[in-house]
């Protein structure tokens, strides 16, 4: 059993082929009170909620609702035994914390713990051994060598590992888990170096391919088997990195790293303004900073619950943030999409409707961006060789994503049509400060005009906010699908609408 305070063992008993827990063992762990009445019914109370079990019956009443267990309660001496699914089916609905029962790995997880399933496969490969590690859900990891161990540390509270017993070899002696969430590979005397690559498997799982290379090996390990489905490289994977790492037999040669599979995995939503920067103030006193935060929170909840994607807010309270703080959060978390939410103002109070913006650079700024993008540096990497790193000033980071940003802006406009009033201008390019430093497709949405009293009232209603959230969610789904279907070449430009001049070109 895994809880926030650690791992402990919960004993079970097998009765007629069924694995059972004793209610007496569960009671202290879950703060339960067990009472057996004169008619034989067993009442299990948690706070003011009750579960009523009947001997020899699989039906159980959970807060008045009837559910079925896999086996009836059974008396063993003075103790009552219940099937293990009592915990997940009967107790979980009334318990305050999340309860997850993983019968295959004999794991009971209490609370919001991150416990990814980690399945390891080993196979021989040219020049060494290949380990394929499937991680579900996808969890960031760090790999480092410490002495005779290779440590894969996951950003998790614990691991739910599984692997076939691996016979020791000269390269790999064994595999162990170090609490809380590190997979330790005991390296053999033949070990020389390693290469890793990661790729997404579907929307939620990830795969680490780890090649352990033997001393004196000269061959190139074959490319990792494509994960199903294999999204084609997204144009943003700018350094033309081959998918196969080279053997670092010649340390001076560049060591290409595999491109990360294209997908929208992390989204940063930026509620505009905040703190001392209130943004627009409507004639009835509505503050832009409050509207943007309310919509951002709802959108985050919808994306997380329906798509299972990682969503970060640049602020989840009333804080003052600079434009660079906002872009930094997106860049540092390797976000795949950046959406800045705002409410508009006009010098004419009659103006209404949403407007969608993406970055427009004037000629001079675009030239500066191109010059900056040409900069790259070779950096030595662990295991030998070098890796070409882009050194890109933040003030020009968005320049190469303008076409994809235009695509996303058009998708938002289409989803708004018929639902959220638009001001009629269409997606517009402008030199917007918060978008400049975003190193991913980025769009700023002005949801409506707070300077218009009617629209100010509308923007403050939950129903209208929900309509905006639904439309933005639909656009995000559309963009995610668009990214996944991109051909290998940087084809976003072809698919994107021709951007309107807005960054400085006169007409």
């Amino acid at each position: 059993m895994l809880t926030a305070s650690g791992r402990q063992t919960l004993l079970s008993t097998v009765v007629r082929g069924r694995e059972m827990f004793a209610l007496d063992d569960l009671a202290p762990l879950f703060q339960l009170t067990v009472h057996e009445d004169t008619l034989g019914a067993i009442t299990v109370s948690y706070k003011n909620r009750t579960i009523v079990l009947t001997p020899n019956q699989t039906l159980v009443s959970v807060n008045g609702r009837l559910l079925s267990l896999s086996a009836p309660p059974t008396r063993e001496g003075r103790r009552w035994l219940v099937p293990v699914d009592f915990v997940s089916r009967a107790l979980a609905p009334v318990y305050d914390a999340r309860i997850e029962l993983r019968t295959d790995s004999r794991l009971l997880i209490i609370g919001n713990l991150r416990v990814p399933r980690v399945a390891v496969r080993e196979e021989p490969a040219a020049g060494g051994v290949r380990l394929t590690i499937d991680v579900r859900p996808r969890t960031p990891e760090a790999i480092k060598q410490e002495g005779e161990q290779l440590l894969i540390t996951f950003e998790a509270d614990a691991l739910d590992p599984s692997w076939a017993a691996l016979p020791p070899t000269g390269l790999l002696q064994g595999l162990t888990v170090i609490e809380p969430a590190t997979l330790a590979l005991d390296l053999g005397p033949q070990f020389a170096s390693f290469h890793t690559s990661t790729q997404a498997i579907g929307a939620t799982a990830g795969r680490i391919t780890l090649d352990l290379l033997a001393k004196g090996a000269t061959g190139t390990p074959p490319a990792p088997a494509p994960a199903p489905p294999v999204p084609t490289p997204f144009p943003r994977a700018t350094p033309p990195a081959p998918a196969v790492p080279s053997v670092p037999s010649a340390p001076a040669s560049p060591l290409p790293f595999p491109a990360v599979a294209p997908a929208v995995r992390t989204i940063v939503i930026d509620p505009g303004h905040g703190g001392t920067d209130t943004g627009v103030k409507g004639p009835h006193g509505t503050l832009e900073k409050n509207i943007t935060l309310a919509v951002a929170r709802q959108l985050k909840a919808m994306i997380e619950s329906r798509l299972g994607l990682r969503v970060l807010l640049t602020r989840n309270g009333d804080q003052t943030l600079s434009a660079d703080d906002r872009a930094a959060l997106a860049n540092n978390n390797k976000a795949d999409l950046f959406l800045s939410l705002h409410a508009n103002a006009s010098f004419r109070s009659s103006v209404q409707g949403a407007e969608i913006f993406y970055l427009g650079l004037d000629q001079e700024a675009a030239q500066a961006a191109q010059a900056a993008e040409a900069g790259a540096a070779k950096m030595p990497v662990f295991g030998g060789g070098t890796r070409v790193l882009e050194i890109l000033p933040w003030q020009v980071a968005q320049a190469r994503f303008v076409q994809e940003s235009a695509t996303f802006a058009s998708m938002i406009e289409r989803q708004f049509q018929g639902h959220v009033p638009l001001d009629g201008r269409g997606p517009t390019q402008a030199p917007l400060r918060v978008l400049v430093g975003a190193n991913m497709p980025a769009v700023l949405v002005e949801m409506g005009y707070l300077s218009n009293p009617t629209q100010e009232d509308q923007l403050g209603t939950a129903a209208f906010q929900q309509t905006i959230v639904q439309a933005l969610y639909a656009a995000i789904v559309q963009f995610r699908n668009y990214v996944a279907q991109q051909p290998g070449a940087p084809a976003a430009a072809a698919a994107a609408p021709k951007p309107k001049p807005g960054g400085g070109q006169g007409r």
Binding site: E364, A430, V436, E446, G503
Partner: protein, 208 residues
């Protein structure tokens, strides 16, 4: 005989003085030339001359920009502004006129109380327009309103003075990120007519 010699010498002197006046005073004035621009050093950032251009009494017809009826764009309006002897003086006269309060039905995208503190032009052709803090303090916010404010200033200068290719807005003598949180003002902005309403098409031939 002697008097004739004196007369001839006097005539030569007078002719020399006249030629010198023509060469060094009158011709440069008529040609309208000024001192050549200095090298691209901080010293080249010459503020507009203190003397009022209006003092000459000459005026030029310029296009100034105001909020269009749709509230989303700017509309150019022809206006007479004082003639400026230099590019910087002319830019100063244009911005001063652009900042002046207007009467309905015109609506200005410049926040109330905004004044011009200084204006410099570099050899590169960038104008630095230093505005009083009201331009940010009294701004209503919103991307659209901020774009209209910024491009009112940028286009008032660049449309009327082709020699100026970029305009950077300063507030109270300082470089700023934005006026109200949206438009990037960290570098000079070029002329941009995206936010200017297209002029009405000319009447079809044969129609009054």
């Amino acid at each position: 005989m002697r008097s004739r010699r004196l007369l001839a010498a006097g005539g030569i002197v007078a002719l020399t003085v006249l030629l010198a006046w023509l060469l060094f005073v009158e011709l440069p004035r008529r040609a309208g030339t000024h001192a050549p621009p200095a090298a691209a050093t901080p010293a080249a950032l010459a503020p507009a001359a203190a003397g009022s251009p209006a003092a000459t009494g000459r005026r030029i017809m310029a296009r100034l920009f105001y909020v269009a009826n749709d509230g989303l764009s700017l509309v150019p309006v022809g206006r007479e502004v004082p003639f400026g002897e230099t590019t910087a003086e002319q830019a100063r006269a244009l911005i001063t006129a652009q900042l002046a309060p207007v009467q309905p039905p015109l609506v200005s995208a410049i926040p109330a109380g905004t004044t011009l503190k200084a204006l410099y032009v570099t050899d590169k052709g960038d104008a630095y327009v230093d505005l009083s803090p009201e331009v940010a303090k009294n701004h209503p916010g919103g991307t659209t309103a901020e774009l209209l404010t910024v491009y009112t200033i940028v286009d008032a200068v660049t449309v009327n003075l082709p020699a100026i290719t970029g305009v950077q807005i300063l507030v109270d003598g300082q470089e700023v990120d934005t006026l109200a949180g949206h438009v990037d003002l960290r570098r000079p902005l070029q002329k941009n007519l995206t936010f200017v309403e297209a002029p009405a098409p000319p009447p079809a031939p044969g129609k009054p």
